[in-house]
């Protein structure tokens, strides 16, 4: 598979740096374009375009640190901030709109009822994305 455009969903978790390094190792040899997005989920009691300052500040912050990390690994990362009711739908829609052939999502190591917990967003991206999806699960902290 020849990857030309990769969409990286940045959630601001501890798994983001590892995921970016992984993306760099895929994108650099393939000379693929990489788009990093962060989706702010807007609650239903607010308008979709509501200005949520703390979330916007956090989003700006994490995109800036992702860009910084990407620069350090020699990866050219274009970043975008989105607001949506459902993060997974926005990730998939953006990937389709930008004609991405790979979506990379990350999940910190979490367990529920003795099983690894994937999370709603990752699961929905898996189910709905028309392109390839790579889910990076962080290793268990010892």
């Amino acid at each position: 598979m020849q990857t030309k455009r990769i969409l990286v969903a940045l959630a601001g978790t501890s798994a983001d740096p590892d995921m970016l390094r992984l993306v760099a190792s895929i994108a650099k040899p393939a000379k693929a374009e990489v788009v990093g997005i962060h989706v702010i989920e807007v609650r239903w009691n607010l308008p979709l375009d509501a200005v949520m300052e703390p979330e916007l500040d956090r989003g700006e912050e994490l995109l800036a640190s992702a860009k910084k990390l990407a620069d350090q690994t020699g990866l050219e990362l274009e970043t975008e901030l989105l607001q949506a009711r459902d993060a997974a739908a926005a990730i998939v829609d953006t990937a389709v709109e930008r004609k991405c052939d790979l979506i990379v999502v990350a999940m910190p190591f979490r367990k529920r009822l003795g099983r690894v917990y994937v999370g709603r967003t990752v699961q929905n991206v898996y189910v709905n994305a028309p392109c390839a999806v790579l889910a990076y699960r962080q290793e268990e902290t010892r």
Partner: protein
């Protein structure tokens, strides 16, 4: 407000629809793949380096990055030399504790122990070698004065924890003039600290590398350049860089002193070393009170630098006051022990100073104790040279900080208050270095020539601040004020006496220059303040009637046109967008060219009226200025001059063009009530277009 079809909502922060002001904050609603799915793209200014939303933006480091090959190379060079840019919030991390503060703020005072003994000896030696026996009593007197100064300075630190030192104390308690006198004295002294310390550092090196003696000015200038770079890297990093050599000096000196004392007390006294050029044994002048006082004044050079801690209290970590006082006491103890021990050992061993400053007393004493050419001799000499250089760093810490305080009080140009990329006062650092270089070169890099200029400023500042505190304690009458007042009153008497002695004995040796400079600099600072005050009075918004933006009538726009070309048409189009009243004016050097220009103008599709001025003396700027004057008198509306300026691709291409617009801008710069608008025209040739693609 949100357009569901995916159109821009450029306001994004609840502004009204008819608000046409530009906004960086764009939100675009995009439809999703499924019916009813929507999401909002927050479109930020890409590549601008600005982060934020809703009209509040933060300029990130990206905005500071220069573009172009040379710009990037310059950025890389700066980053290599002075390090990465620091955010303002990092200011707290740039503060220092006692361990780092000691080398930064106390190195000047501690390093004085390396040459204070010699300076006193050099004066006494004029009366013959027997007079050198007075060196020890003079050293004790100097240490006594230092103890008084430290006790008094600790009161200054407690009373003024925000720094500013003598300037602030004198200004608050004696008035502005006294404050400015103290500030001028300190500024001069900081410059001299750099010059003297560098000269002394080079002298220490040339003691074991005699070849350097002839190049001492050049070596001094090079060392000042190194100190500039170190200080541009910021206070903390400068401290880290300079901490090791300061402690190395202390260890080396205490080691040498311990070994010297052991040899003397155990009955194995070292043999004296003869200087390369000894003083005449019988002396050249009789031993009189004046000479003893002069020797005391020269030895008092060791007291310089003790004010730096009080001036730099804000550089310390919390609790600033406690850390500053600890540093002050440590500094005094270290100086006093090294100074007294060196003086005692030198006089006991029988060391004499060198007439031509070719070898220092310190070097000869080390040779006598541990032997010439031994590794320990070189360790002592190298660490001494380094600490003498670091003493100059006290000037680099004090001058920029004091200058910034003065600049914030509008007594010095604003640039001195500007904080550089590493949170250092870059302008002050560079100006200090330049002044020190000039002085060092002017005095041929000689410590003895420079020392008479030294110490007057610092004792004047001490006396003013001590007496200022006496007035403060009397005024405030806080608990225990009587004790503080007695300490500071005693400090005033002691430092005032030393000031008089120093000024009297060193007057003809160069101190007169400082005494002339202090009032001149004070007057200059006062003049600068008056200017800023006048400007402030003219600019400040005083009442509610001034709190509104006036609606001015559209101006009369004058567009000087040299040639009818694309740049001129662009300027005319812009002028038309600014005002309905536009006048084009062409200055022609002959009637024939004027007629030709009018013929071409007639072919232009425009209703803008043209005036043609024929200038038979071929001058362009002068007739145009007279034309603008005449237009100004005939119309009450403000005059705006729109200039068409052709911009070439490269800087060197500027040389090929006449720069008429630039000359006009320069000529109109000081014309009152004239707005000058420059309309640049960046041309696109085929070659350049292809390259850009």
């Amino acid at each position: 407000m949100i357009d569901d079809e995916g159109k821009d909502d450029s306001t994004g922060s609840g502004k009204e629809k008819d608000d046409q002001s530009p906004s960086l904050d764009k939100r675009v609603t995009q439809p999703g793949r499924h019916v009813g799915d929507r999401y909002v793209r927050i479109v930020r200014p890409t590549g601008s380096g600005l982060r934020g939303h809703g009209g509040r933006w933060v300029a990130t480091e990206e905005t500071m990055e220069r573009t172009g090959r040379f710009g990037r190379a310059w950025d890389s060079a700066l980053r290599f030399l002075i390090g990465k840019r620091l955010e303002t919030e990092a200011e707290g991390e740039e503060r220092v504790g006692v361990a780092t503060g000691l080398p930064i703020l106390a190195s000047d005072n501690i390093s004085s122990s390396a040459y204070a003994t010699e300076e006193a000896m050099r004066v006494l030696a004029l009366a013959g070698t027997a007079a050198l026996a007075l060196t020890m009593p003079i050293a004790i007197a100097v240490v006594f004065v230092l103890a008084i100064v430290i006790l008094s300075e600790s009161r200054v630190i407690r009373a003024y924890p925000n720094g500013g030192g003598s300037y602030l104390v004198a200004r608050e308690n004696h008035g502005v003039i006294a404050g400015l006198v103290a500030a001028s004295a300190l500024l001069i002294d900081y410059v001299l600290t750099v010059a003297v310390s560098t000269a002394a550092g080079v002298a220490a090196i040339s003691s074991f590398v005699p070849e350097l003696h002839d190049y001492r000015v050049v070596a001094g200038l090079a060392l000042i350049a190194v100190l500039v770079i170190g200080n541009l890297r910021g206070v903390r990093e400068a401290g880290v860089l300079f901490a090791a050599p300061t402690y190395a000096y202390m260890i080396a000196m205490y080691g040498l002193i311990a070994f010297g004392l052991f040899r003397v007390l155990s009955g194995d006294p070292p043999h004296s070393v003869t200087p390369p050029n000894p003083f005449p044994p019988d002396g050249t002048t009789p031993l009189m009170l004046l000479l003893v006082l002069r020797a005391f004044a020269s030895g008092s050079v060791g007291l310089t630098g003790s004010e730096a801690v009080a001036n730099g209290v804000p550089s310390f970590r919390r609790p600033e006051t406690t850390n500053a006082i600890k540093t002050l006491v440590l500094m005094g103890t270290i100086f006093a022990t090294i100074f007294l021990a060196i003086t005692w050992l030198s006089t006991t061993i029988g060391i004499q100073p060198d007439l031509n400053e070719q070898e220092t007393v310190n070097s000869m004493m080390t040779k006598a104790i541990v032997g010439a050419g031994t590794p320990f001799y070189y360790i002592v000499q190298v660490t001494t040279a380094i600490i003498l250089l670091l003493a100059a760093n006290t000037g680099f810490t004090g001058f920029p900080r004091l200058a910034s305080v003065l600049a914030n009080d509008r007594f010095m140009p604003r640039h001195f208050a500007d904080v550089g990329s590493r949170l250092a006062f870059n302008f002050g650092i560079i100006i200090l270095a330049l002044l020190a270089c000039v002085i060092l070169a002017a005095f041929g890099g000689s410590v003895t020539n420079l020392v008479p200029l030294y110490t007057i400023g610092v004792f004047l500042a001490f006396t003013l601040s001590q007496s200022g505190l006496v007035r403060r304690w009397r005024r405030l009458r806080n608990p225990g004020w009587q004790v503080s007042m007695v300490i500071n009153a005693f400090g005033t008497v002691v430092t005032g006496t030393v000031l008089l002695v120093v000024a009297y004995t060193k007057f003809e040796h160069g101190a007169w220059m400082v005494l002339v400079l202090i009032p001149l600099i004070s007057a200059l600072l006062y003049g600068i303040h008056r200017h800023y005050q006048t400007v402030h009075d003219a600019l400040v918004i005083t009442g509610p009637e001034q709190q509104r933006v006036l609606a001015l009538p559209a101006p009369v726009v004058i567009v000087p046109i040299a040639r009818l070309d694309r740049a001129a048409l662009q300027a005319l189009a812009f002028a038309r967008s600014v005002s309905p009243t536009v006048k084009a004016v062409h200055i022609s050097t002959s009637k024939a060219s004027a007629q030709e220009f009018e013929r071409r103008w007639a072919q232009l599709e425009t209703d803008i009226k043209l005036d043609v001025v024929t200038s038979p003396y071929r001058s362009l700027v002068a007739p145009l200025l007279k034309y603008i004057d005449a237009m100004d008198k005939s119309d009450d509306r403000p005059i705006t001059v729109v200039l068409a300026e052709f911009v070439p691709h490269h800087w060197w291409e500027w040389l090929l063009h006449s720069q008429t617009a630039f000359r006009l801008k320069a000529a109109l710069l000081f014309r009152p009530n004239t707005i000058v608008i420059d309309v640049p025209y960046h041309f696109e040739d085929a070659d350049h277009h292809t390259r850009r693609k």
